[in-house]
Amino acid sequence: MRVTNKLTVDSIISNLLRNKERLHSAQNIVASQKKVNKPSDDPVGMANILGYRKTLSASDQYGKNITRGKTHIELTESTLSTIHELLREVRRLAVDQATGNLDDRPTIAAEVKTIYDQILQLANTKLGNSYMFSGHRTDMAPFSRDAGYNATYHGDDGDIRIIVGEKVDVKINVNGEEAFRSVVNVFDVLRDLINGLENPDTTTGTTQIAAQISPLTDSLNQIQSVRAMSASTFTRLESTENQLADFKLKVEQLLSDTEDADIASAIVELQTQETAYQTSLATAARIIQSSLLDFLR
């Protein structure tokens, strides 16, 4: 083949450019630490990367949702547990009074009234700006009472649900209906007890008090059963949270495998390309200089 000056120069230029381009892309991989820097680098990988990112973003969100649900349930649980304690105290007092001890009835009545208000207040607990036990009517205190200790429920039986996974949602609230009014109306039982304690006719009063012991036990069971329900939801949330953490770890690993460059081999590649580029520079410098003219002078 006849090799002319232009041919030499052209091939030097195109070789230099090609080596420089390879060097550039090797540098890019080392600098960004990613082997997929644009969709055309790995079209299938890119689709996977975007899918993994969506999964991670959604998983983070589910994690947030679950934390929020757990807070709600924890507060529900601690509130109901206090109410349970208070009701047990009331039942102890009622059992005491039903077996004849008549002296302290006004004091006991006052104590039960205080407990009534305490329970009412607890039933009106807010998480943030929302009342926890009013179903959907979170802007309204669920319970109020009149002077005769008749309680009114202002909430509804609405469920508060959160999303814990792809198309999976879980009920996290206990409404006032379930906790205080489903089997027995806790506030009515307390009211009847107060009436019994305050009955001037102590004999009738004792009968009234005795009649409330069984409903009080039912109230305790009622509270216990909603607590059990919440607890099982809580366990479910916790196990979902753990699964999510494992899942996230796996997806992160997959994302990293698809997207991240293996730094060691990327650097080796960079050095190889650097050497290649320098070699082509050195070769070019030697070839481009020499000509017959050097020897004719």
Partner: protein, 462 residues
């Protein structure tokens, strides 16, 4: 004439021939870097000999002609491959622009905007009455809509840019056609007197090659050295000394069609017959690739709008209002959040019933769940998978165009090297020739002085 004067004549002819050769050598050296130049050489021939006893005696040398060293077939092949190269080059360039637009590697693309949009609905589920959650949701929704708008208008911009390129190339093609027609005439005028129009032919070949980068043509050369250039479909661009022009006409989608003008005021649409050169690459991206992505983007934006609106308008806002659409618009270009919602976030409907306000979040849950529902492509894929496969498709297209471009430039490069190997000027070769011709010239001069001495000897005898 086989006498001393004959020697003088031979020497004179030799001087002239060697001088011609040095002239041509100098022309070659001067044009070592001229694009499209083919090296030239002098054809030296012996003159007609004279018959004597005992035999014929030569009468020296003459420069019979100057011709360029050129492989005609190679030129045609280079032009054909250059048309392909131009096509892939333009297609690659256009696709890479689209790729930059849909580049999701930066984590700030449509995929991210969609993720944040669905997450904001999740946050509303967690606190359906929360003002902060509502504000964030309306902001994220606005971002999503604007991301759609931006990508759409940038894709449109690419289309417009390509249109501008196409228009520019049309006038470039016309300029080249005019020049080729003019060269046709000049070459024919020179060659009618049996001369070789070497430099003009080089110029015309260069123009034909330049034309090949832009559009696919068929060329043929007739016996008097004029080339005929036809665009696909048999419409002439150049014939003899006449050139025809291309022009553009706005079509129904507001883009430019390429038309051929017959010179009598009629135009013929040749857009669909173009199959090579940058023109084809640009047309491909403008009329097939970009509209495809615009459609996909529209499908995605419309489906999100319809699905979200469908659920949202059945729900109730914090203020008790119902029937509000969440997104308005008709395509990816103009999708936006209902301005009433942007102005009053209480309108966002999280509740499924008026009685459930503010704690009911059933509508918010249903909308948040849309993220994972098969909503696209005939209910077979999710929103984000639909978009992801769109990005992946684009990646494939860019990769394909790159590979084709690399391959094609390798082919053209190879052919160009081959052409250069045949027609290119080698300085070494020219230097050697120069010395060769110089020595021959010196020797011819010596002939004259020898003839002179011979004559002197002869005269002094008298």
């Amino acid at each position: 004439m086989a006498d001393i004067y004959g020697i003088l004549n031979v020497a004179k002819g030799a001087l002239l021939a060697q001088q011609r050769a040095i002239n041509v050598t100098s022309h070659n050296i001067a044009n070592v870097n001229t694009p499209g130049y083919s090296r030239q050489r002098v054809n030296m021939e012996t003159n007609i000999p004279m018959s004597f006893t005992p035999g014929q005696i030569g009468t020296g040398v003459q420069a019979a002609g100057i011709e360029r060293v050129y492989d005609r077939f190679l030129g045609l092949q280079i032009n054909a491959e250059t048309q392909n190269l131009g096509k892939w080059e333009a297609q690659k360039g256009g696709l890479e622009k689209v790729e930059i637009l849909l580049n999701e590697t930066s984590e700030h693309g449509l995929n991210q905007a969609m993720n944040e949009f669905w997450n904001a609905w999740n946050d509303l589920v967690n606190n359906p009455a929360g003002q902060t959650e509502r504000m964030i949701l309306s902001a994220k929704s606005d971002t999503l809509a604007k991301t759609f708008n931006n990508i759409y208008s940038s894709l449109k911009q690419i289309q417009t840019d390509l249109d501008t390129n196409i228009k520019g190339s049309v006038s470039e093609i016309n300029r080249i056609a005019d020049q080729i027609a003019a060269l046709n005439q000049q070459i024919a005028n020179i060659e009618i007197s049996r001369q070789n129009a070497n430099d003009l032919r080089d110029k015309r070949d260069l123009l034909l090659n330049e034309l090949s980068t832009m559009i696919d043509t068929t060329t043929s050369e007739d016996s008097d050295g004029k080339v005929t250039v036809l665009v696909n479909g048999g419409r002439p661009l150049v014939q003899n000394e006449t050139s025809w022009h291309l022009s553009t006409e706005t079509n129904s989608s507001g883009l430019q069609n390429i038309v051929w003008l017959d010179g009598a005021g009629n135009s013929v649409n040749i857009t669909d017959t173009i199959s090579g050169g940058r023109m084809k690459g640009w047309l491909e991206v403008r009329d097939v690739v970009v509209p495809g992505y615009l459609n996909s983007l529209d499908d995605l934006a419309n489906e999100i709008r319809l699905r979200v609106n469908n659920l949202h308008s059945s729900g109730f806002g914090l203020d008790g209002s119902t029937g509000n659409t969440f997104f308005i618009g008709t395509s990816a270009s103009d999708i936006s959040v209902n301005p009433n919602i942007l102005a009053a976030v209480d309108l966002i409907a999280a509740a499924g019933a008026a009685a459930g306000i503010p704690g009911d979040n059933s509508i918010a849950i249903a909308i948040a769940n849309l993220q994972n529902e098969f909503t696209m492509s005939g209910n077979t894929t999710t929103f984000s998978d639909f978009y992801n496969s769109m990005v992946s498709d684009l990646g494939n297209a860019v990769q394909e165009a790159s590979i084709n471009y690399d391959h094609q430039s390798e082919v053209v490069n190879h052919l160009n090297n081959y052409r250069e190997s045949v027609s290119g000027v080698s300085i070494e070769e020219e230097m050697v020739n120069l010395i060769r011709f110089q020595h021959a010239y010196e020797a011819a001069a010596k002939l004259i002085s020898t003839a002179d001495e011979l004559l002197e000897t002869l005269i002094s005898m008298v």
